[in-house]
């Protein structure tokens, strides 16, 4: 019984991995740059917290932040700001959200992640918000 469950679980995991690999996404840092600057930065800049440069954190710090998925000190999730529903809610006022309205959530998230890692202070091209 236990062996059977283990085999079934392994097969299921294998299928999930295969599915993920088949659609392995080649992230686009330039698209990430547009979304980060037009959505993340424009909102942050309008608030007291101010804009956050990608180069203000290291790659490890950005990875940890994104993995933790806690925005505004845990009040909400980071990933929700990459969701189609969020983009739909701001697209009338935000051209980047409108332009990328139909992009899958995980692809947009990977785009921005790549831009942040590339622009981190120890990244290949440390970047500011501007």
């Amino acid at each position: 019984m236990k062996v059977h469950r283990l085999v079934s679980t392994l097969i299921a995991c294998g299928l999930l991995c295969a599915s993920t690999l088949a659609s392995a996404y080649d992230a686009d840092w330039k698209r990430g740059r547009i979304y980060y600057r037009s959505v993340c930065t424009s909102c942050h800049a309008a608030q007291a917290i101010g804009a956050i440069n990608p180069s203000s954190m290291s790659k490890a710090e950005w990875n940890a932040y994104l993995q933790k998925d806690k925005h505004a000190k845990g009040k909400d999730s980071v990933k929700q700001y990459f969701s189609k529903s969020y983009r739909a809610s701001i697209r009338s006022q935000n051209k980047a959200a409108d332009k990328f309205a139909d992009l899958p959530d995980d692809e947009l998230f990977e785009d921005v992640k790549l831009f942040l890692l590339k622009g981190a202070k120890d990244g290949d091209a440390p970047a500011s918000c501007g």
Partner: protein, 529 residues
């Protein structure tokens, strides 16, 4: 439990089959070739030239095409003036000249290893494909003739600054079309820094919003440079050395052979671009005398990056009491004094100056006579007037400078600035030594004496087109003291007055008023009677 696991398994299999049957196979839609799949690029590369060799196995004609362009030769013969121009030959009032500074300057050459006259311009492997076709944004070239750092490198030597090695294979596997980032890696940083030279080209154009440039707006039209600057056979259209002052052709149409400059406004918008608004016909009439850019680029350096407006080399060389070079910044962090370079004036949101321009540009080249007593020396004199029928009123960035010259031979000079040798000015702060080295390399005479003269250089402004709502208003030109106050040879209503014309106007208006009043008076009197 067993049933539930089997159900999960079946569900996943079914979902996978349905997904595979319905969805087209995943592929890249922005290119027809995934370069990561090419065996030629699946290896380690020890130099940029090795990458080029791999590129040439498929793109057999690419390097030879590059060899024919000014991006490769840095040389261009102006057919109108017969002047030999190009970066290799001209002198400017920023970093003065390429000359013996090629090690640094050639970081922006589309080649590998150009540091002196021994560079092989016929070598196909010396062509740098990656500088234009990198899409990773990670490509770098060092100030050693533009070689990429394939291992961690101290640059400049002795500085203690380490440039991290780049993985050429990863970059080569991600090559693609040129972009604002690739062109901008050089053209945004001309003159030695972000936005220094052009005024309307800086890093803000890498991912601009509509306010900065309506065409390149990253969330809108998203033009790349090559959308306008077409590059058949790798030869990029639209030259600052031989610009188009007045494009009289219509919009380019697919299938119609058109040899006119594809980078002008008219090549897309035609000769009557205004279709809507309050007075489209009146605005279109302006296109006969006014460049599109004059109204549609109200200011330059609008993206948050300051541009240099004045560079005074005569104050360079001051050192601290400890003998160290100085670096002073303004409140915003802009460098305003550098011992190696002198004093700077920088500015953002700059209102252009205006001039008649017909596309003719005559440079003051090495060997041309200049004289401090003449006042300001024009680095590039613009052709154009109200009367020649070929000119339009153009917006200009006017770069003003004070730069070294030879007061005995009365010529501009090409100093040796960068390098770790004993004569480089940025190392030894000695003008005489630096100029002697630079002029010797240029095979030009130098008296040994150095003085400074004032210069001006004109840069027609053509990028950073603002949204139409932000275009220059009528009253900004049609008024005394307005934008076009110094433009001569044309009558601008609101700015200009002609005594006889004014008298006729006032007489007509006064006469009309008097006539109406007299008529009214007569009618009143007659009614009473």
């Amino acid at each position: 439990m067993k049933i539930s696991h089997l159900g999960l398994l079946a569900g996943l299999l079914f979902a996978g089959i349905v997904h595979a049957a319905d969805a087209p196979a995943p592929t890249k839609l922005n290119t027809t070739a995934d370069h990561s799949k090419f065996k030629e690029l699946q290896r380690e590369f020890g130099s940029g030239s090795e990458v080029t060799k791999a590129c040439l196995t498929c793109h057999t004609e690419a390097a030879l095409q590059i060899h024919r362009t000014k991006h490769w030769t840095w040389e261009l013969l102006n057919p109108a003036t017969q002047q030999r121009l190009g970066k290799k030959n001209v002198i400017n009032n920023y970093c003065l000249s390429a000359g013996t500074n090629l090690g640094s300057c050639a970081t922006c050459h589309v080649g590998y290893g150009w540091t002196d006259a021994s560079f092989d311009f016929k070598s196909q492997e010396n062509v740098d494909c990656l500088i234009c076709h990198d899409t990773s944004g990670n490509y770098k070239k060092l100030p050693n003739g533009g070689l990429p750092p394939v291992k961690d490198t101290e640059s400049p030597p002795g500085s203690g600054k380490i440039v991290k090695a780049i993985d050429l294979a990863k970059i080569a596997q991600k090559v693609g079309k040129t972009s604002r980032d690739t062109c901008g890696a050089c053209h945004f940083f001309g003159g030695g820094g972000d936005g220094v030279k052009h005024g309307e080209m800086d890093s803000s154009l890498a991912s601009p919003d509509k306010e900065v440039d309506v065409h390149m707006d990253a969330t809108g039209l998203d033009f790349t440079c090559s959308t306008c600057h077409k590059a058949p056979a790798h030869d990029v259209a639209g030259s600052r050395y031989v610009p188009t002052g007045k494009d009289t052709e219509g919009a380019h149409i697919r299938g119609k052979v058109d040899n006119s400059n594809p980078a002008t406004c008219q090549s897309c918008h035609g000769q009557a671009p205004h279709k809507a608004g309050a007075q489209p016909a009146k605005l279109n009439q302006h296109a006969d005398k006014v460049a599109c850019q004059t109204c549609h680029i109200p200011q330059f350096a609008r993206g948050g990056v300051a541009t240099k407006m004045n560079w005074d080399w005569s104050t360079a060389g001051k050192l601290s009491p400890e003998g160290k070079p100085l670096l002073n910044k303004d409140a915003k962090g802009h460098v305003i004094y550098d011992s190696r370079k002198g004093d700077f004036v920088v500015a953002e949101n700059v209102t252009p100056e205006y001039a008649w321009f017909n596309g003719e540009v005559t440079y003051t080249l090495l060997g041309d006579k200049v004289d401090k007593a003449d006042g300001i020396t024009l680095i590039n004199a613009l052709g154009g007037s109200a009367a020649d029928g070929r000119s339009l009123i153009w917006p200009m960035k006017v770069m003003r400078g004070t730069q070294p010259y030879d007061p005995v031979n009365k010529t501009l000079v090409m100093p040796h600035l960068s390098g770790n040798d004993d004569t480089a000015y940025w190392t030894n702060f000695n003008w005489e030594k630096a100029i002697a080295t630079g002029m010797k390399a240029a095979n030009a005479p130098f008296s040994g004496q150095v003085d400074f003269l004032k210069t001006e250089m004109y840069w027609p402004i053509t990028h950073m087109v603002a949204p139409k709502e932000k275009a220059v208003g009528c009253n900004e030109c049609h008024t005394r003291g307005g934008r076009l106050d110094k433009i001569e040879g044309i009558y601008i209503p609101g700015r200009d007055a002609h005594q006889l014309l004014d008298l006729i106007g006032w007489l007509a208006a006064g006469g009309t008023l008097a006539g109406v009043m007299l008529h009214a008076l007569v009618r009143i009197v007659r009614r009473k009677n």
